[in-house]
């Protein structure tokens, strides 16, 4: 069972325990005031009884509910025994005549405490049994079954029934609520995974299928095959991705493939990829930033040179023990006049400086753009790792 369940169940147990202690304290004070104002025959006995009740109340207050729950019957038996003994002690302490005449016992309503304790710790039978025992002790103290005593007895037994039923209902509801939220959490996780798959499938496979549906008559069989094979590769990557959730390093090549696949329908001819056979790993944050910067470069190709050829090279350099991953994105489009990029940045259009340079700067990388009108555009992205 998950921690939410335990948290909620514990919270309910704690609340019940607090209510139980509060009941004991308040009824103890009430009982003491009522009895001591009647000038008992043996005041010392009365004080001793209240000392015992106070002691027991303190024990209940200091003992955590889960500790009592390990031996529920022992605690209920002890509380019941104490209550019955104190109730019977009313006879010698107040004197038989006073006891029979008055409608009170030494514990008074405090005596219902053991019934409540039984309600919180056990099922429904034991509380009723405890209530009956305490009621019997009251009857013995009164010497007969008066109407008021009968009413008190009935109230006590019914209270036992109602309170234990309520507590059980609350416990069941708590458990069910916890199960529900666990189910909901699991459902939310699987929905998120489904959405991720749907998004990836949509970005690649569905887009390509839609494109094929529309354009297939005008494409050569080989082009159709290439598009289809790129997407089957993409689906395979999706299903057996090295870049599973939770890994701390990601393969830059796989991420770049994904970026290219996401734009497959908007770039014709498709970008040509030059990737090493072995994975090019970087810490996930750096790898993701680098791949997204590649995506941003490709978006620029889509925007400014959609029919140009484009090339993406993933390579790595080693010098003096330092490793640098370098990705080159080149297109054969119209190119950019010198100063045009700086001007765009000044005018607040942040294509290159924001989504490319900004992304890389956040992981300690850099980008350089090399372009001239009529000579295409080359962007070199570098990240050390």
């Amino acid at each position: 069972v998950n921690s939410t369940h335990l948290d909620r169940a514990e919270a309910l147990q704690l609340a019940l325990h607090r209510a139980l202690v509060l009941f004991h304290v308040l009824t103890l004070v009430a009982a003491a005031v009522v009895v001591l104002r009647r000038d008992p025959a043996h005041p010392a006995g009365a004080w001793a009884a209240y000392a015992a009740m106070g002691g027991w109340t303190l024990v209940l207050a200091r003992t955590p509910a889960r500790v009592m729950a390990t031996h529920p019957r022992v605690w209920v038996a002890a509380a019941t025994l104490l209550t019955v003994v104190l109730a019977l002690a009313t006879l010698p302490v107040l004197g038989t005549a006073e006891s029979h005449a008055g409608a009170i016992t030494l514990p008074g309503t405090w005596g219902a405490g053991c019934v409540l304790l039984a309600c919180t710790l056990t099922g429904r039978v034991i509380p009723v049994a405890v209530a009956s025992l305490v009621a019997c002790a009251d009857i013995v103290v009164r010497g007969r079954l008066a109407t008021t005593t009968a009413t008190n007895t009935m109230i006590l037994v019914l209270t036992a029934l109602v309170v234990s039923t309520l507590i059980h209902a609350a416990t069941d509801a708590t458990k069910r609520l916890a199960e529900l939220s666990a189910e909901q959490a699991a459902e939310a996780a699987s929905r998120a995974e489904r959405e991720r798959l749907a998004r990836d499938v949509h970005d690649g496979v569905l887009q390509t299928l839609a494109y094929l549906t529309r354009e297939a008559p005008r494409l050569s069989p080989v082009e159709v095959q290439e598009l289809a094979s790129a997407q089957s590769e993409q689906l395979r990557l999706l299903l057996v991705s090295d870049n599973a959730i939770g890994t701390t390093e990601l393969d830059v090549s796989s991420l770049v493939r994904e970026q290219v696949a996401q734009r497959a329908t908007r770039l014709s001819p498709p970008p040509q990829l030059a990737l090493p056979a072995e994975p090019v790993r970087l810490p996930s944050e750096a790898a993701t930033a680098l791949a997204r910067a590649v995506g941003a470069c490709l978006d620029n190709v889509v925007a400014h040179a959609p029919t140009a050829e484009s090339f993406v090279l993933v390579d790595e350099f080693f010098s003096n023990g330092n490793r640098t991953v370098v990705v080159n994105v080149r297109d054969t489009g119209p190119g950019i006049a010198s100063g045009r990029l700086a001007q765009a940045a000044r005018e607040g259009r942040l294509g290159v400086s924001g989504s490319i340079e900004g992304r890389l700067a956040s992981v300690g990388g850099s980008a350089t753009v090399r372009s001239a009108p009529g000579e295409g555009t080359e962007v070199e992205l570098r990240v050390s790792g």
Binding site: V222, Q225, A274, A277, F311, L313, D315, E316, F318, R330
Partner: protein, 217 residues
């Protein structure tokens, strides 16, 4: 004498439809196809019988890998130059074939004109580097550079530079202009990259044979 007259092509592919299409495309361009084969075994036998100068080789064959076929051409005269034509483009397969001695690699989606000029280049022993193959070879040399062995092949800075530009889709004319080299020098660099890879493969095979006592058989 045009170079075409000497070009003799063997087409190795397990799909008859593909073989027919390739034979037709090459024939249209005036290139003679001297034989067709559908498996590694057939390729070896047909190559022996027809003495091709170029083998157009698929990698997934029913009885083995295309790289096995390349090994079987080693004792032919002339030793045919191999151009890999693969549908999958699975990088480890392509690398294995190039290490085994292939001069180039095209995907089956290449246009007929690209195929024809690649066959002509292959016939002359010129490497056919697509960006994707250049990327694979670059990666292979990066990997080899971490090997502790004394015979590990290393690229010169110039070769790396050329290969990186090939990977980015520049042709040898563009590269020559950018690096201020002659066209011929650029081709020599790409040639020497492949030669280093082939030599390294041969050294590795020999060492393997020595270590396992295969040379005594």
């Amino acid at each position: 004498v045009s170079a075409d007259e000497a070009v003799r092509v063997l087409v190795v592919d397990d799909h008859p439809v593909w073989r027919r299409a390739l034979t037709r495309d090459l024939g249209d361009a005036g290139i003679e196809v001297v034989g067709e084969a559908g498996s590694v075994g057939e390729a070896a036998a047909t190559a022996r019988a027809t003495r091709p100068t170029v083998v157009l080789l698929d990698l997934q064959l029913p009885d083995g890998h295309g790289a096995d076929a390349i090994a079987s051409f080693a004792d032919l005269d002339p030793v045919p130059h191999v151009l890999v034509l693969s549908a999958s483009g699975e990088s480890t397969d392509v690398l294995a074939a190039v290490r085994a001695g292939a001069c180039g690699y095209l995907t089956k989606s290449a246009q007929p004109e690209a195929l024809v000029s690649a066959v002509r280049a292959t016939h002359l022993g010129e490497p056919v580097f697509t960006p994707s193959l250049a990327g694979l070879v670059l990666g292979e040399f990066r990997r080899l550079s971490h090997d502790p062995g004394p015979e590990r092949p290393l690229l010169t800075d110039r070769e790396t530079e050329v290969l990186r530009l090939v990977s980015q889709g520049l042709n040898s004319k563009d590269i020559a202009a950018r690096l201020v080299l002659s066209h011929r020098t650029v081709q020599n660099h790409t040639q020497s990259v492949l030669t280093k890879l082939h030599l390294h493969n041969r050294v590795e095979l020999t060492r393997y044979a020595l270590e396992h006592g295969l040379d005594q058989q």
